[in-house]
């Protein structure tokens, strides 16, 4: 084990022995590319010609006026190809897979966003592709499953455990320990054993690099606060990392408050008492677990935040006080989503809407001289079934009913 990757007391590489060699190799390759300026240029080139980086920052004038508070800017990761920041990570890992000369990729997915992104990358680079997805998520994110399959990926519904994201990760590891010679596991967030937290953050750092430059160019100063939602933590790491050295910029990570902290139906690891430090899925961090160390069920309206663990780097930043963590409830999230759609004509993903919800809560208390930046990690089109249900749209129900009747006629 050549390198283990700790951030304060968090991180590490708690690996089954069978994977140690694979990880050593991965760490080697990653260290190579990290120190190779040509690689980053190649990466930027792919992201600009295949996706559309740099993604812009958008001034949200109407929201700003609505809250009569700080100027609100939005970093538009929703404009990425496949509709979320997930593209940054998969394309980066895809380039690495090419260097490693492997021919197959696997991935876990919760919201389906990372699965679609990985399947897309696999199509583009000509890799075989298998996606593990909890059975519950397969049900609630069928459109994404459909696209993964159209993209040529095999989607395997995981029927074990709580049948959501964490179980999909376990299944992906089980595949990997069998097929590591040909296969790379494209982990979708800044979690898992070293080097994944660092590597995923590295590829996502393109968000913060761009954002810092853009906001300085547009406003001539840095934002007072930056908001990002936190599932595994990759989009948050992506945007925050651009501002770590700017001590006056407050970084706010927003977790999934679900039905509220008291309900226990949430996915709040860094700002709730229901979580504690543990080791699972190959790394040490805050997990939602019971006193025996068994993982709890989590809940969020946003499938992509419905996860028991969190990036060890964020756990460390929390301990160090560099990032403040908050939670937004499902209800607050739907409200923030609705307001954002109506005021700005952008449709944040339910995940991203957590960042908006918290920003909206704090904005009225801030000065008009201030400026804040919200990371819109993805677009909400994919969430139509969930959002239509959340707003309980009768015409949508009627449409689905008619469609079903036609199928079964």
């Amino acid at each position: 084990m050549i390198d283990r990757g700790y951030y304060g007391g968090f991180g590490g590489a708690f690996l089954p022995e069978i994977l140690v060699t694979t990880f050593d190799e991965l760490v080697d390759y990653f260290n190579d590319v990290k120190n190779d300026p040509v690689f980053w240029r190649e990466y930027e080139e792919v992201m600009s010609s295949y996706s559309c980086r740099p993604t812009p920052i958008t001034y949200a004038e109407n929201l700003t006026n609505h809250f009569n508070g700080p100027k609100i800017y939005i970093k538009r990761e929703d404009l990425n190809h496949t509709g979320a920041h997930k593209a940054n990570n998969v394309m980066g890992q895809g380039l690495l897979v090419k260097r490693m000369k492997k021919s197959r990729v696997i991935a876990e997915t919760g919201a389906g966003q990372h699965g679609v992104a990985t399947a897309t990358m696999a199509a583009k680079f000509g890799f075989d592709c298998t996606i593990y997805m909890g059975e519950v998520d397969v049900e609630r994110q069928r459109p994404n499953v459909f696209w993964m399959e159209q993209l040529g990926a095999e989607v395997i519904p995981v029927k074990e455990g709580t049948r959501i994201l964490k179980d999909a990760i376990n299944e992906a590891f089980r595949d990997w320990v069998t097929n590591m010679d040909t296969t790379h596991y494209v982990l979708g967030t800044a979690c898992g054993p070293h080097p994944f937290p660092e590597m995923v953050s590295y590829f996502q750092s393109i968000i913060g690099k761009e954002a810092r430059e853009q906001i300085l160019k547009t406003e001539g100063k840095l934002p007072k606060r930056i908001y990002a939602c936190v599932g595994g933590g990759s989009n948050a790491m992506g945007i925050f990392s651009g501002f770590f050295n700017d001590r006056d910029v407050e970084l706010v990570g927003v977790e999934a408050g679900g039905k509220g902290l008291d309900s226990k139906m949430h996915a709040v690891r860094l700002s709730s008492e229901d979580a504690s430090v543990g080791v699972a899925q190959g790394y040490k961090t805050f997990f939602l677990q019971n006193k025996d160390g068994q993982m709890r069920e989590t809940h969020s309206v946003a499938a992509g935040l419905d996860y028991v663990g969190v990036s060890p780097i964020l756990s460390d930043l929390k301990e160090k006080g560099r990032v403040r963590f908050e939670a937004a409830t499902d209800r607050e999230v739907i409200e923030a989503l609705s307001l954002t759609i109506k005021k700005e004509g952008v449709i944040p993903a339910l995940e991203s809407s957590h960042a908006f919800a918290r920003a909206f809560k704090e904005a009225p208390q801030m000065s008009k001289q201030d400026m804040i930046l919200i990371n819109q990690s993805g677009r909400g089109d994919k969430d139509i079934f969930t959002i239509a249900d959340a707003v309980s749209d009768p015409k949508w129900k009627e449409f689905i009913t008619k469609k079903a009747e036609k199928y079964n006629a």
Partner: protein, 255 residues
């Protein structure tokens, strides 16, 4: 000590048998009966798996046993009580097998001490490489129990030596890539891997992952010291009930 026990036994038998059960599966009572049959059928040592919600290195059979045990309400303290009972009752070494979080949440040193005091002779923690196991290794040392480490076909010679230098009792060689429970091809291509393993350590070698029949065990004779039966007994219990265990083990155990 575990190693001494094994080496003594090996003077009497060509190959030892280690079996594996998941605690609380199907129930603690059944688990007890299974152990009883196994010991009676001549098993030489046993792994008691404390169920964990994320058993990343296990295949479907053991995975589901973990889940069913947990949804039946099994707790870590029940596992300790149960271990206490079987250690008292049966005269073979028992090991705890689990994932690191179970130790971590309990408190690693305390876990090792309490287990040692219970009479548990060793630990298999598949997601804990020595690099991450400082506290664990010290505690095992202090309480004179054996941390068992794992070799795999992908492990380099150097790393085998490194692992062996931290291991006690025996080395657990996984027969192939993959998780528990899948089939293994017991044929000559295992030989060079086992030869490498033998060269890396003087500890006894156990081989697990996919051992399910008398012929598998026979194949391993002379190559390793312990054959590990894992998923296959769970499958058997699922299929034919606790009563079938005894005969199955006896058959494996004939010389």
């Amino acid at each position: 000590m575990l190693r001494d026990y094994l080496e003594n036994r090996l003077k009497e038998k060509k190959i030892l048998l280690m079996t594996h059960i998941v605690l609380g599966y199907p129930t603690f009572d059944d688990a007890y009966k299974i152990i009883e049959s196994m010991v009676e059928a001549g098993v030489d040592l046993m792994e008691l798996q404390i169920p964990f919600s994320e058993p990343i290195a296990d295949g479907p059979v053991i995975l589901q046993a973990n889940q069913k045990s947990l949804s039946g309400g099994s707790t870590v303290s029940q596992c300790f009580e149960f271990a206490h009972k079987v250690v008292e009752r049966f005269n073979i070494p028992f090991l705890f097998m689990s994932y690191y979080n179970i130790l971590y949440k309990y408190g690693v040193s305390q876990f090792v001490r309490d287990a040692a005091e219970t009479g548990i002779q060793g630990f298999i923690v598949p997601d804990l490489p020595p690099e991450e196991g400082e506290e664990y290794l010290i505690a095992a040392e202090n309480h004179v129990t054996s941390p068992i480490f794992i070799f795999s076909p992908t492990t380099s010679d150097d790393r085998m030596k490194y692992l062996a230098s931290h291991g006690k009792g025996f080395i657990y060689c996984v027969a192939r890539k993959g998780v528990t429970g899948a089939g293994t091809d017991f044929s000559d291509h295992l030989n060079s891997y086992l030869k490498r393993s033998r060269q890396a350590t003087e500890l006894p070698l156990a081989l697990g992952f996919g051992v399910k029949s008398k012929s598998d065990v026979d194949f391993l004779k002379g190559k390793v010291d312990i054959a590990v039966i894992g998923s296959e007994t769970i499958r058997l219990v699922d299929r034919e009930g606790v009563g079938a265990v005894s005969e199955f083990i006896k058959n494996l155990n004939t010389d």
